[in-house]
């Protein structure tokens, strides 16, 4: 067997294989490039939806909206999650990557797939939005690019599972999988289900785009949402894993009860794909019984999982803080938390906005009757920007501030900016999401270039409050864009031009494997 190069992280004590480190770096860089591309598109879409500016012409609005959705929801998120799989698999388990060459082949397949898809979108060959509903027809290369990207992601998931087997066989860890790795396994299982459904619809649609077969629009929607929504549930599982990780790293959070947390991850695996049915609540081709069983019964079991994590993560943080001596009063533990640590502030904002805004609105809109008044309004993007952006992306940003010193072994550049970045991003996204939600309550449609219907043969009047709300939405979105821009500046500068972390700056500290225990840890030895 070929010898594998390892280094021992002076900070965590974990053995990090060179292959895992390189693959994490490559996927992180690709994710950041995707974030920059999708972020530029986001600003253009935002300035068009802000009626007072109305930046883009109609054709370019739908083109850029397609770019924004695909680049952010698929490319940015999945590249980052591939990095998380290598971290949670190889690094957390002190193991080598099972098949690094296959990992690299998968990475380049994903890059090629993403580039092909980007080319079709930017050149006007795929103005079909993220959902690309049939009979909207894109260039065949669009579907082919997505298929290549998805195959690459599926291969990385296979490498992750193989790495778990290698780690078990080579006894690189003791006992059960750490909770973070367990969460990553959940995400990987959901990924297999998701990508399977993606293949089931994108491959026929690719042949349909070549004129070789027919695709039924209702079947397309049913299967596509098996991909479109379930892919966001991969995010949820990864995000929750990162919550546990960041809680332990930043404030010594403990896992209250391993069995309960792991059971909640199992609920995700069993029921979260079924939750995709809520996208079809107003579709006439499906029976009310099917809709209600899926969204008012099974979906709530997945929601229950999120509510369990939504309690256990902050409770673990509180208990960890109390075990550090912050026991005065009800909220001393929260007041004296390290709010200047961007990892911690990102964690808290991710939990709050995901739960209070994204979670509450999502479950409410997932009710069949209420879906009638929320469907296809701005309330829907208001909901999912609170979950995917304020929740998932915020958690990803927070963990980046630990990945840079731990994996890239660099100091974080522009440190004062990095410390305020989560406040700008989360605050902006909170205002943005709430304004969108309220504007949608007044009936403002989503995915719409011009709600004033200028030059149309009919007139549509909205409540005057809508103009104010769209202005507030723009201000929130631009503030979040500044936060996102700072994140990109800080990460790119730190990784490529940053000051290397010197041994003396970190070797004196010692953190236990942060999520491998279920009981409060014994005190760490004095340094």
């Amino acid at each position: 067997m070929k010898s594998v190069a390892f280094r021992t992280c002076p900070i965590t004590g974990l053995r990090v294989s060179a292959d895992a480190e390189a693959l994490i770096k490559a996927n992180a860089v690709a994710a950041t490039v995707a974030l920059l591309t999708g972020g530029i598109a986001a600003i253009m879409v935002l300035l068009t939806r802000w009626q007072a500016v109305h930046l883009l012409p109609a054709e370019w609005f739908y083109r850029i909206l397609t770019v924004h959705g695909m680049t952010m929801l698929i490319f940015f998120i999945l590249f980052f999650e591939m990095g998380v799989l290598y971290f949670a698999g190889a690094v957390m388990l002190n193991s080598r990557v099972a098949t690094p060459r296959v990992g690299w082949a998968a990475f380049w397949l994903m890059v090629v797939g993403a580039l092909v898809t980007e080319w079709t979108m930017w050149t006007g060959r795929a103005d079909v939005l993220l959902s690309s509903y049939v009979p909207l027809r894109a260039h065949p290369a669009f579907y082919l690019g997505v298929i290549l990207f998805a195959v690459g992601a599926l291969i990385v998931v296979a490498v992750f599972f193989a790495t778990l087997v290698v780690a078990k066989r080579e006894h690189t860890y003791e006992g059960s999988l750490p909770l973070v790795t367990y969460g990553a396994v959940t995400a990987a299982i959901i990924a297999v289900i998701t990508l399977g459904q993606g293949a089931a619809i994108y491959i026929p649609t690719f042949f349909w785009s070549l004129g070789m077969m027919k695709v039924d629009p209702e079947i397309y929607r049913l299967l596509w949402w098996g991909l479109g929504h379930s892919s966001q549930q991969i995010n949820v599982a990864v995000m929750v894993s990162i919550w546990y990780l960041l809680g332990a790293l930043t404030v010594g959070a403990v896992v209250l009860n391993e069995k309960i947390s792991r059971s909640a991850f199992v609920l995700y695996t069993l029921f979260i794909s079924i939750a995709a049915a809520h996208h079809l609540l107003v579709d006439p081709g499906l029976s009310p019984a099917w809709k209600i069983v899926n969204t008012s019964y099974f979906m709530y079991l997945a929601v229950l999982a999120s509510m369990i994590h939504g309690f256990t993560v902050p409770a673990g943080i509180e208990l960890g803080q109390r075990l550090r001596g912050y026991t005065h009063g009800m909220f001393d533990w929260l007041r004296r938390a390290p709010w200047g640590d961007p990892g911690f502030s990102s964690l808290i904002f991710s939990i709050i906005v995901f739960g209070f805004v994204g979670g509450i609105t999502g479950v409410t809109f997932g009710t069949e009757q209420i879906s009638i008044i929320a469907h296809n309004t701005l309330r829907v993007p208001g909901h999912f920007h609170a979950t995917v952006v304020s929740g998932t992306a915020m958690a990803f940003m927070g963990v980046t501030y630990y990945v840079i010193p731990l994996i890239f072994r660099k100091q974080i550049a522009f440190w004062p900016l990095a410390r305020i970045q989560p406040y700008l991003f989360a605050g902006g996204m909170l205002v943005f999401s709430l304004a969108m939600t309220f504007a949608g309550t007044f009936g403002v449609p989503r995915r719409h270039w011009d709600i004033s219907f200028s030059a149309a043969p009919f007139d549509v009047q909205f409540n005057p409050a809508v103009d104010l709300l769209l202005g507030v939405m723009a201000l929130g979105g631009l503030t979040a864009a500044v936060g996102g821009g700072i994140y990109i500046l800080v990460t790119v500068w730190s990784v490529f031009f940053g000051k290397p972390l010197e041994a003396g700056e970190a070797s004196h500290v010692h953190v236990r494997n942060p999520v491998g225990y279920s009981e409060p840890t014994p005190p760490l030895p004095a340094s």
Binding site: I11, T250, L323, I370, I372, V509, L524
Partner: protein, 70 residues
């Protein structure tokens, strides 16, 4: 202690109290009542549930304005 360019969780990693076991026992004692060892989180969760109930009710009210009965 914090260091420039290094998050506090690395520069100054969290340490539990030296009497962590005794402290843990004390926090889990029945004397803490219904709120248990994490009273702050329980209060936050109750706030969350109230927000949930309020938003859910408002949406049904809005629906009732669209679909009037009688």
């Amino acid at each position: 202690m914090s260091m420039y360019g290094i998050p506090s969780g690395i520069a100054n990693p969290p340490r539990h109290s030296p009497q962590v076991d005794e402290e843990n026992e004390r926090l889990h004692s029945a004397a803490h009542g219904l709120l248990g060892p994490t009273p702050g989180t329980v209060v936050l969760v109750l706030v969350f549930l109230l927000a949930f109930v309020a938003y859910y009710f408002v949406n049904w009210k809005l629906l009732s304005l669209v679909w009037k009965i009688g």
